[in-house]
Structure formats: structure tokens, C-alpha cells
Symmetry: C2
Subunit: 343 residues, 2 copies
């Protein structure tokens, strides 16, 4: 939700600073006091109590020149990704998607064909993973943008109780796991921008335009007793720093255990790990959980679950994430934070 901001075209750090302050502003002092807000700004989705039950709410916008380039004309893929970025927020809460509202900012000269393909991509993602477009708004805008708002509801734990995953519930001793290889989307974007036509490169481009939101797996995590998760949308290290801060813990990542797509290693060699540590938009889940639950999940043949580190310190108010290499030496990732267009 609020974290998927990008400052690509807006003057660098100053703009990131503003966005960070705006995020605080929108949190609002009175939000914490609201009985109806069970999990508020700062998590992947808000959890609210409605007169009829608990609900998940999330929204994500994409802007031409910032999150996608209209000149690429990959409308189906852009629509798919737009739906997936919202579906992934619901997945990160272990929830089930329900209803979507789409706002289109339409620039002069836009064609219906463009939006036909865009809607196909969006609708196919909703058909495959759940959720449905039920309304929206169409406005003129000098800059093309799309905003999606998505509702959902919590899935249930082993006792049939509605429960959700949060970022603030990591505990010392938890293992840190991801649900699939990382860096493929960022690698795909680099391939796309370079114009390379190598087939391995195209596999990565496909990962960029056709990511999978981990809805089912998120529900499975809830059922298994996992309570802390988020999705990897802005880059593993940067995203985990947010989770570590909300949980007041230190996290240690073993660089050698971070899973990489074979094509990423083939195309980028030693740089592959950087793309995996800092590249965004893979939409895998990262979660923390006691070892017993992780073992149980792996025993049940949930093969996507890969342990990449552990929660090794508590009582760290600002949170901390360290990455160590095979020799146990600290490793400083070259790039922190995911710049959606420039990889």
C-alpha cells in the first residue's frame, strides 16, 4: 500500500523525503485511536472492522514514466501487473481478494484498443487469482495513470478463526523465509531497457510483466500458524527493513541462501545477487516464523518455501537488516530501494 512509492522522475532524495513525510501525514494521529481500524497504515493492507465483519483494503497507483512506459505499449502486461500489485498486498495479509475499483487517468489521444488490452490483462489476473472489477472512475489527465483499490477478507487459521499476517509480529528466533526466487523482475526490466533479445533474457522479461501474487500460499501460511509476512514489492532488503522496524527486531540474511532464477545468473553473473537483494516487483512473500512451523510447511511439500535467514535480535526500535556472505562477513548491498523504472 503506502510503501510502493517511487521517486524516479521527481528530483531524487528530496522527493523520497516528501513521500516519506506524506506517508506519516496520512497515518494521522487519530487513526491509532479508531476502534474500527485493526491494522492501519504501514502494513500491506489496512484491516478494518465494518458493521458486517473484518475487511482488508489496499490501493496502488501506477503512473506513466514512473512505473511503466506507455511507449513500450505492453498494455496487457501493464494491466496484469497493476492487478497483481494489489492482489499481492492482499496475499501479504494472507487474505482473499473480493472487489476492485479502477480509476483511469486518460491522456489526450489515448485509444480504446490500448485500454482493451489493459483491461484484458487486469481481468485475466483477477479471474486467475480472485477479485472482480465492480466500478471505477474515468478522468482526463495530461499524464496517464491507473489507480486500483481492492477489498478482501481474512482467511482462517487452523481453528477456523479469521486471522491475518502483519509486519509487526516477527519474534527473535524466527526463521526468515521467501516463497520463490528473487530478482527476476528487476533483471527482466534491465533486459527490456537494454533491448537484448536473448531467450533467457526474455524469460526474465516475462517475470517482469507476468508476476504471480501468492494468494493461495498466503492463506496456507495463515492456516499453518505463520503470523508475520509482507510481499517483496520494493526490494528484499528495503522491504525487510520496514518489517524489522515495525517488529523492533534485527534480521540476518544469509546471502548464499537467497534463491535466484537460473536465467538471472546466466544473464547477470555476479550482479544477480544485487538484483535479488534490491530489485522490486517479484511479488513473492517474505515471512518469519518459528522453525517448527517452517519444517511442517516444508514436510507438507510446500516446496517454494526457502529459508534465507533468521530474526537474531530483539528490542531494536528502528529495526535492522544485515546481509552476510558465505564467510559470515557483513555484505553491503550496492543498491537499496527499488526504482520502478530504472531497475
Amino acid at each position: 500500500m503506502t510503501e510502493s512509492s517511487s521517486g524516479t522522475n521527481s528530483g531524487g532524495l528530496g522527493e523520497f523525503g516528501l513521500i516519506s513525510r506524506l506517508t506519516e501525514l496520512s497515518a494521522g494521529a487519530d487513526l491509532a485511536n479508531s476502534e474500527s481500524v485493526l491494522t492501519g497504515i504501514g502494513d500491506d493492507a489496512a484491516v478494518v472492522a465494518t458493521p458486517a465483519g473484518n475487511q482488508l483494503l489496499t490501493t496502488d497507483a501506477i503512473v506513466d514514466g514512473v512505473h511503466f512506459r506507455s511507449v513500450d505499449e505492453r498494455w496487457y502486461g501493464i494491466g496484469w501487473k497493476c492487478a497483481v500489485s494489489n492482489l499481492s498486498d492482499i496475499a501479504a495479509m494472507g487474505g482473499v481478494p473480493d472487489h476492485a475499483l479502477v480509476t483511469l487517468g486518460v491522456p489526450p489521444g489515448a485509444s480504446v484498443d490500448t485500454y482493451d488490452e489493459f483491461y484484458s490483462g487486469m481481468n485475466d489476473a483477477f479471474t486467475e487469482f480472485g477479485g472482480r472489477i465492480v466500478g471505477g472512475d474515468v478522468v482526463s489527465s495530461p499524464t496517464m495513470f491507473v489507480n486500483l483499490a481492492l477489498t478482501g477478507h481474512p482467511s482462517v487459521d487452523a481453528n477456523g478463526q479469521p486471522t491475518w499476517l502483519e509486519r509487526s509480529t516477527a519474534r527473535v528466533g524466527d526463521l526468515v523465509c521467501v516463497t520463490g526466487p528473487l530478482g527476476g523482475s528487476a533483471g527482466g526490466l534491465e533486459v527490456l531497457l537494454s533491448g537484448d533479445t536473448n531467450p533467457s533474457g526474455q524469460t526474465l522479461v516475462d517475470r517482469h510483466y507476468h508476476p504471480t501474487p501468492r494468494i493461495e500460499l498466503g492463506n496456507r501460511l495463515v492456516k499453518s500458524g505463520v503470523r508475520c509476512a509482507m510481499d517483496v514489492s520494493d526490494g528484499l532488503v528495503g522491504d525487510l527493513e520496514k518489517l524489522a522496524k515495525l517488529s523492533n527486531v534485527g534480521i540476518r540474511i544469509n546471502m548464499a541462501d537467497v534463491p535466484l532464477p537460473a536465467e538471472l545468473i546466466f544473464m547477470f553473473g555476479n550482479s544477480a545477487i544485487e538484483l535479488a537483494l534490491s530489485g522490486g516487483e517479484d511479488y513473492e512473500l517474505v515471512f518469519t516464523s518459528p522453525e517448527s512451523i517452517v519444517k511442517e510447511l516444508q514436510r507438507e511439500n510446500v516446496s517454494e518455501i526457502i529459508v534465507i535467514g533468521n530474526v537474531n535480535e530483539g528490542g531494536i526500535p528502528d529495526g535492522k537488516v544485515s546481509v552476510v556472505d558465505q564467510n559470515g562477513a557483513n555484505y553491503e548491498p550496492i543498491r537499496k530501494g527499488w526504482d520502478h523504472l530504472n531497475g
Copy 2:
């Protein structure tokens, strides 16, 4: 929801045509077949069945240079209006607002002060009329925009059953009523653009920047047995044409009965009626109902309710709205459709 589109800066009719086709596109053939969608695209808000009960969903976006001008720096008013346009969609369904998600498209050089005032305006509107911001997204964008998505729930009828107002339920013989004077917001915008500082003009400017969403009144209508309503956001005649089409009826408006703010007559003389017939953003409700219900509402001292016409024909697939003057002669409003910036 989908109807609040504006083509001001985007090449005129061609763009309006595109927006109209996009609205159809987003309706989608499969939407009608969805069990969970009780009232879909085309009404002020969607009504959906969720696992936990029926819900209202709406969204509205505003774009710099199209719906507001950042150079005017009326941030509090822009924030207030942004909240009200969404609250009014819930009011038009006779619903109760619950939770809002705000997406900010932030241009280079934007200041936190700007957004401080903007949030004050939004939050004050939610505090006064219900609803609460629970999350959002902040993205960089060359063009400043704000998208608001708002959830709500139906209010109850006289038997305590959750019920809502629709556009498709007007019946021959119904009276057509509005909940307050029209044209003030459009007049205020004209005053603003002209730079006039006359106090009567400033009263209209205040109507433009500080409209009231008719939440309580919408709930009252539901309780009284009214079933057909919408809000006046794009202009009385143009809005009623949408209602007439969805209800397959003909509507006759008596021009002399359309209520006008005294300041509008003072400032615009004979043009006041044009602003009332075609000007948008007054956010009053317009509804149709059998005379007995209207009389009962007026007897209960709901003084805002003014009869302006009646539903005089059925079986009109495309709908029809005619305006007649004091002599019963047809009157053709000069301007149809509300152009948010240019009045």
C-alpha cells in the same frame, strides 16, 4: 463514480467519446452475471455482497488542470471537495460512509504544507459526515492527482432492512425532487475565474469549495420509502438523463420550480437558471418518488425537499429529459454537461 468524467483539457468531444466507451468497457459483460455484484457500474456506487454483508464502494479522482488548479492554492477546499465528491456518491445510495483509501500523485517540488492543508480539508469532511482514511498510496507523478476510494454500507428502511437508492427505479407518476438550490457551485467557479470580489460572489465561491454531501438526508429518504436517487455532480439535466435512461422513462422538469440561491440570481440574473440546469458539483440529491412519500417528507418538515417535475412517460429505452418554461413551452438549456474547470 464512473460518471464524474471531464474532458476539459483533452480535445473536446473525441475525448468524451473515448471516456464513454471506456466506461462501457469497464462495465464488462461478465459483471452482470456476477452473483456478488448487486448494483454495478452506472450507479453512484457499486453495491456488492461480501462474505460479511452488503457493501457500497465508490471512487473519484481529481487531476490538476482538469478538476482543480494547483496555482489557486486552495488546498483545504480542494481536500474538502475531494472527500465530499466521494461522500456524495454514498449519500446518493442512501448509505453510510465507512473507510477511505487515498492515493496521492505527487509532482516534483510539491511541499508538505500543501498536503497538510489538503489533508485537513479531507479529514474535516470525514469527521463531519462520517468515514475515515485508513490507508493509501503515495507515488511520484508529473501531474498532481488525488484518487479517493470510499467504502460504505446501506442504511435501513422503515422495517429495519438494509436498502439502497438506485438510478434505475424511477416509475411513471413519480414526482422529481431536489434537496436544495442548484447552480451555486458553478456560479462560484465563474466568480473565481473572473476575479470578482463582490460578497455575494464569495458566498457562491464558498458553495463551490465547501459543498455538503447529503448523507443524513439520503438515509432519511431510504427510511421514508424512496427508492430512486442520484447526486447532482455533473449538472441537473445531464445527470437526470442518465437516471432516465437507466429507468427507461421520460422526465419533465418545470424550469420555474428549480430552486436557485439568491446570490446566484443577484450575480447572474437571467443566466442563473442555466447554471442551475447545467452546472455541476452542487452535490444535492435528486430523487423520484410517489407523491404520498414526498408529502409525508414535507409534512415531517424536511424543508429542503423541492418538487421540480415529474416522471411523465414510461417505456423510453434511451430515457428523455425535457425542460418546460412557465408557459409549458419546451426550453433547451444552452449548455449540457458540466466542464469541471471552465464552468
